[in-house]
Structure formats: C-alpha cells, structure tokens
Symmetry: C2
Subunit: 246 residues, 2 copies
C-alpha cells in the first residue's frame, strides 16, 4: 500500500531532509526509523523536496510503501506518538501505487522570512533571518522580475558538479511586507540545490544597493555561481507547500 | 528618569520573571544585568506581573529609573542588542516619575493555549499544553461563569501563607476554539500566585467530566487549595497585556 504523508517540521536541529551517506539526524531518517519500528523491517520514505540543514517545512510531502493492517489514521497517530516534538505528521492518506511525491510534484512553494531592525520577534525567532537595516524592497521586486520565468539557473545552484539540466521554471516571486517583516514567496516547478537561498541572498544585496536589479540578467547569462550573491541562512526558509495535478 | 518597558519573552528556559533570594536566570535578572552594564551601577526593574517559571509574555510591562543621557529608543536598541534572543524589548517610553508598572495596573490579560489529539503544532509547541482528548468546552464555559466576578480565590492560590486578601475581581473568561486548539483568555484586575494555572487545571477537569461545572461554587466557598484541580503546566500560559488607566 502506498501512503502520502503531509509533514511539518522545525528544521533547526536537523541535517536537512535527506539521509545520504553518513548523514545522520535527518527528517527522512527520523520518519524511516519510526516506520521501521512499526513494520518490523526497513522502509524507504521518498520526500518531495530535499530541504537543507536548518530549513523548515509547513507541509512537506513524502510517500512510502507500507504493509497493510493499519488504517491511514492509525499510521498518523503512531508516527506522531514516536516522532520527536519538532516533527509532526499532519495527514496520512492512501494513494495509487504509482504515486511518487517528488516525480509527480508540479509546483513547490517556499517562503523566506526576513525581519529588520532591533525587534527580536521572540516567538518566531528560529524561523526568521534578521537584517540590521531594511533593504529597498522596490528594488528587490524589480530584480525578482528578471528571475521569474524559464531560465538556466546554474548561477543560483550550489552543486558545481550538477550534470542534469539547470533550467527551471520560476512561476512567481511575491513580496509581502508587514511593518519590519518581509516574506518572499517563491513558486516554481522545482528548485536546484540552495537555489532559493542564493536567490534570496542576491535579492538582499540588490535591496542593500550593492547590485542593481538589472544585474540579475547578466548573473543568469553567466551560468556561474560566483556571479550571484551569498547563500542566505537556512533558518529563514520554509517549504510551504507541494502541489500535484488534480 | 522613569521608563516604561514593553517586554516579550519565551519563558521556556527561565525561572520566571522575578529575581528573589537565590533564584537566578530570571527575566527580571537578565534585564537588570544589561541595564546595570549600560549605567555602570545596579538598577531595579519593577515588573507588572510576576510570571512563573516557564510562563511566556507577549507584552509584559516593567518600569525602571535610569540616569539621563540616552533617548528611550537608544535604551531599547541597547537592551535588544545585549539581551538573549528569547527576551525582546518591544518599546521603551518615558513616563512620569510616580508611574509604577504593578501598582498602577488596572487589568491583566492572560491566555492559556491548549491543543487536543495527535497534531504536534510544531511551530508553536513550546507555548501549548497538549491533551490527548478534547474536553467538553461547553461544560468548561458553564464552570467559568462561576469564576467570573469578585470572589475570594483562596482555593485557587498556591501560596498557602498568603497573608493579604485573596479576594480578586475576575472580569471575564473567554473561550476561543480553532479546530483542535482552545484558547482560554482571563481578564482580571490581578491574579494570585498560580491562580490562572489552577483555574485552568480545574476547568480542564470539568471538561473531562471529572467535576461538574457547579462544583466551582463550593470550591470557591471552601477557601482551600486542595479543593481545586491541579495546576496546569506553565508552558501553555502567556501574559498577553497589562492595562493602565488612560
């Protein structure tokens, strides 16, 4: 039986979603450990987005093939009981055997949360990147227009040995301001390794006047990571949603 | 110069607001340490509400007499710079010399946050008390009606050697439900030691069918702590606001 899981996590303490090589303490690893305990044998959980170390998720999606014998709701309750308090299973549902969380996803939505100035935002502090000065958001919006659309995002990819295509469709970059807080939402068909964080780091530099909005064009054209800005910290980034065709 | 501070804190790691005797690691102590560093001599910060260990605040109020030489805004920036990330100063303003945060307060608003069932509420988990089963909220509302008004709340006071009056006015107890979450808001002129947590623990027992709503009457009449329910955990409690006459 194939099950789709909706998962929320505070990524602060984890080495990201994906278990690979010797990487321990991952979200995928924690969920697989609990399911292996439930099943009595190892299982593999397939995540839709491989969030980096320290990145959070409000609704990550994964799928896993499990033996029968428990209802979806029983599986959810079991998982929540044995998972640590910073990983929660929002929903478990039965899906067709061929459903794959990553391969079938048609869109992902990430949100980057920035706050400016001295306010500490105590209750959300672990999910925010703080900047001393407020950047020029209008300039950031202008720069983001150059990012939207289908481009080769190689300059915004941290994986230098990326052999597959680095062309991606970025559907929209949306800015929402609330006082001294700024949320940048990225909607795209898929994202390269560190792509959202490098885009954010570059947009911040535009907002700080270190680059012009138009420079995004030549950064994209150059296809070279060193042309783009720094990788913004993981803590401000949250995977909001993964969308599938209905 | 007398200054009024608005303070938010995640109380998880602290031994409450008040520094007393050998109690270290308090919110008051952290703020006094930073101000002493700023002034070059010790200062005393007076808080409006003495929140217990583990209790949070969205807008605690305190006042402190400081030497001149800095604007209120400079004091705020200094405090936020040197305070830990779980204590934030929302505002600093000059107030008349006779203003005292506790003595002049006319109303305090506390909120108790409960969640029921298996959902983990990962992003707010440190500010929630979890119950396995949803209690009967209608019964809790009926019970709360007996608490509202002016009563001797001795049965709801953890301080057995309380010499002063234990009569308090509780203006309103309001319930707000969102799915599997319940917020209980208490507005009163002032609260006794652990009073909000003991009222919450008692209301929960009513909601669980362990007591009838009408039992609140005899608990109040008995003036004996052992008649009331358990003290609900600190983590679900937040001081929302302190109100002064305008």
């Amino acid at each position: 039986m194939n099950y789709k899981l909706l998962i929320e996590y505070d990524g602060t303490k984890y080495n990201g979603w994906q278990k690979q090589g010797n990487t321990t303490n991952t979200i995928q690893g924690k969920i697989e450990d609990v399911l292996a305990r439930m099943q009595g044998h190892e299982v593999e959980v397939h995540g839709a987005g491989r969030t980096d170390a320290g990145v959070h998720a409000k609704e990550q999606v994964a799928n896993v093939h499990l033996d029968g014998g428990r209802t979806a709701e029983e599986i959810r309750v079991y998982l929540n009981k044995y998972l640590p308090e910073d990983i929660g299973i929002l929903d478990v549902s039965e899906v067709p055997g061929r459903f794959h969380s990553r391969l079938n996803a048609v869109e992902k939505i990430y949100s980057y949360h920035l706050a400016f100035g001295e306010q500490k935002h105590v209750f959300e502090r672990k999910f925010i990147t703080f900047l001393e000065e407020k950047p020029d958001v209008e300039k950031m919006k202008q720069a983001a227009l150059y990012l939207e659309g289908e481009h080769d995002f190689r300059s915004f990819c941290a994986n230098k040995r990326m052999k597959k295509t680095t062309v991606r469709k970025l559907y929209a970059v949306t800015f929402r301001e609330y006082g001294d807080e700024l949320f940048i939402e990225y909607r795209g068909e898929g994202f390269l390794y560190n792509m959202v964080r490098i885009m954010t780091g570059t947009l911040i530099e535009v907002g700080q006047g270190k680059r012009s909005p138009k420079e995004i064009e030549s950064i994209l054209r150059g296809r070279d990571r060193s042309l783009a800005g720094p990788t913004a910290p993981a803590r401000g980034l949250t995977l909001l949603k993964v969308i599938y065709p209905q």
